[in-house]
Symmetry: C3
Subunit: 357 residues, 3 copies
């Protein structure tokens, strides 16, 4: 089937809105960038879109941020490239450079200029069910088959996609976006919160005691607090607190399939990459990064700006600013030294039973 | 936004029902506990709720179970604390102790006394679709947009939340609770089964053979059996058997984002923590614990009461009662000795190319 | 409850269609197998179904593929067993053998003969919502509460189960099956694609840049391309590309709870087992296997036919045909040698502080 699909098409009109075209001047202003290499170019030329280096054409804007892709710069046919000062000499002739200190940030803004997110279409779909005493801002968009419980509040310009279920009493701020099939209960949500499809927020945590006839459920009586600007990836799960709250600090971003246990607290601007899990009552400071598939046991503290490596197994507190990896977690340097030492030892050690080393 | 949110509010009236108030005598009876430190206290005093040690007030009940939090006992303002005999001397003046052998179990019961789960509201929502020959007990609650297939049976006092999809022929017992957006097919379910939001039960397992032109699907002809009292966390997945059944034994509890492959069998009262995965045809005995992010390959046996540590990679049978961790799995003691030995060796070993050790 | 459940019932009539009965000749033809041990058997005998070795009766067909289960062959009461030449001598008297080079493939076909998948029932359920300019083939089946966006195309004999949400512009080929609660956006899908319940396809990837006031979202302007015959397990997530596309090659099979990041490319007939994750922009060749819970960092290349072991942490390119395991990834042989060497060293090393070794 896919022989005819051009898999490098950026911003396919079937799926994305398109704005523009825009002039070099406008793009430089949006990027906060300095123009180089525009000598002799047509000052009235307009640019129509964005694309990666390998497929961008003369009317498109591209970018270079990861030096791994620097070799692509020589052959690019892009009209404009956003890039750092260090790579300016490698620009091919005829390609204009927009020099900026943070090319990826500039790309975010220029790409958003060409492809603004779809506008919120105010109104409540006739198939949606809204509970008593719910207050839905008149500028909010509520999709088909949505179920909103009693006493819920939904702020201005918030968009709730089809099949979302919001439990009684939940508070949702302004400019939020809740993806299809998400469910949210027992939650207080700030502004600009984004939940992708299938997230589960506020269900009871994993709490039970051993009774004489098996496990007995411990009532989970806390809430979830999602502060302003939090984003949660598809099919991730955040349990409500048991007696305190589960709190995700302002600006934090969680990827897909992440698990957050009851009473966990994340500070501001934490990053939790896909399939990582944080067990109950663990607390993270601000700007902590937890890489993919890492796991943190419960009841520990992770200091500000600590970085937890991929697949790391964290069993005890981590200091602010520390870089750890491995299972059990240890400093990056120690982990890779251990790996190297073991490799050397294994090479030196004759096999049991003799034979080749 | 969240400056004004009191994140220690337990049992927020927007989200939880509240019962009571209750007397000390009633609470002691509920907890099965012995009263200490009530000399001079008002026998008619009533208590209104539960809260953690750090936020409980004089009219609230708290508990101490994890000794990590024992330092909080000195400063608590709680009226009553459920705790073990060992900590009774640390109770502050004016706080009554309820001494019990299992404070966490007592907490489960007292918290449930103050905050009973919402009652089941009998009836089938008018937007729900119920297939031919389905038998729904008149005391069951079927939520909006639920789809129930042909020939399904739903027992007394069972609650099925909005957007749940139940496939043809599924049998659901009494006092079950099925969370929003869950899907269940090819399944026989006992009583008191709880499925949280977004679980996937009974879909076809990962079975295919290599044919001349690619993979060919192997029909998955077994079922899922969820015995009495099983609980499954949000977004977890349990595949139906291929030719036998996938069986989750009575009282077992699975956390969020857990994967159970086809033909897996869990005994009674097993615990599988979040993001753990059990591959096809593996069998667990009774009271087995599988910690977070652990993985078990297929076709192995895990003995009764074995404990599989977090992130453990189990490649072969595990004896009853064994404690294993690491990838590949080994006894706890061996694992931590290996970690210590490697650390010491790495410290002693000069770096390649010389320089500091 | 479950005392009376026969957990070895294969193809329970409540859940599966049944075809047949079939003659030995017909079954041999379907399996592409050679008949042995039918001397003296009734040529008109008919067989009614399939079952595993331990529960199959004289009118049923079973199979042996994994030599782990060879001891079951002696006691089987199966009428027919599909198996390889090597085990023919172990067939019990009265059991007919169907000798074939690939018994598991033959089993797939014979099981499918007795239990064909349910037929597609053409039509759009009256509760489904279909957007403007959507083109739904008249032979397609659209279930209850499905939401199909504007401009979507759905091919012949495709079945879309209840509560599925398809975003604007999505293209779905023929003979596809989309499980309940799945959501698909920004996607081009070939023929014979199967998505199980709860999959999330096409949502925005995890892309953001660090701005002066926190993270800023990078518009995700690519698509997802699912080529012919792709299958995706329950609750798995595939993010759309950021500027290029995320591509899953023809015939590839992904298990449950798998994460595929933006711009990832899988070649033909790759296998990704449950809870594995592949980070952004990583490329896999053809016939690559990624075992359960393995994780691949972004921006690397995995060669054709490479095999990534369970829980493996892959931080750099992997050659075609390589077998790697461990975190960080290393060749299988090296990994298990390291494990053995460390175990021996640990046994030899006296504990710090003296005492027993």
């Amino acid at each position: 089937m896919e022989g005819q699909v051009d898999t490098a098409l950026t911003g396919d009109g079937r799926f994305f809105q398109r704005s523009g075209p825009f002039s070099l001047e406008k793009l430089a202003e949006c990027a906060g960038a300095r123009i180089v290499g525009d000598e002799g170019s047509d000052p009235d030329k307009l640019y129509v879109g964005v694309a990666p280096l390998q497929s961008a054409g003369p009317q498109e804007v591209s970018f270079l941020d990861n030096r791994r892709y620097a070799p692509l710069l020589n052959q690019t046919r892009a009209g404009i490239v956003l890039l750092g000062q260090a790579f300016v000499d490698r620009l091919p002739k005829g390609t204009i450079g927009l020099i900026c200190p943070a090319p990826y940030l500039a790309w975010a803004r220029v790409a958003g200029l060409f492809h603004p997110p779809p506008a919120v279409a105010p109104g409540i779909h006739p198939t949606a069910l809204v509970g008593v005493d719910a207050v839905i801002d008149s500028s909010a968009q509520i999709g088909p088959f949505v179920v909103i419980g009693a006493g819920v509040s939904v702020g201005a310009k918030t968009r709730i996609d089809s099949h979302v279920v919001i439990g009684d009493g939940v508070r949702i701020g302004a400019h939020c976006r809740i993806g299809t099939h998400a469910s949210v209960s027992h939650t207080l949500m700030g502004d600009r919160v984004t939940l992708l499809a299938g997230v589960r927020i506020g269900q009871e945590g994993f709490g039970f005691a051993v009774g004489p006839e098996g496990f007995e459920t411990v009532p989970q009586l806390g809430r979830v607090v999602l502060e302003d600007g939090v984003e949660v990836g598809a099919n991730s799960t955040i349990d409500r607190g048991s007696s305190q709250d589960t709190v995700i600090g302002a600006g934090s971003r969680l990827d897909n399939l992440v698990q957050i246990g009851h009473n966990v607290r994340l500070g501001r601007c934490c990053i939790v990459v896909s399939q990582a899990g944080i067990s109950g009552s663990t607390e993270l400071g601000d700007f902590v990064t937890v890489a993919a598939q890492a796991g943190l046991i419960g009841h520990i503290r992770i200091g500000d700006k600590a970085r937890i490596g991929a697949q790391c197994g964290v069993m005890s507190d981590v200091d602010a600013g520390a870089d750890v990896i491995g299972s059990p977690a240890m400093p990056f340097r120690e982990f890779f030294r251990n790996v190297a030492v073991l490799r050397r030892l294994a090479k030196k050690t004759p096999r049991e039973g003799g034979g080749e080393a």
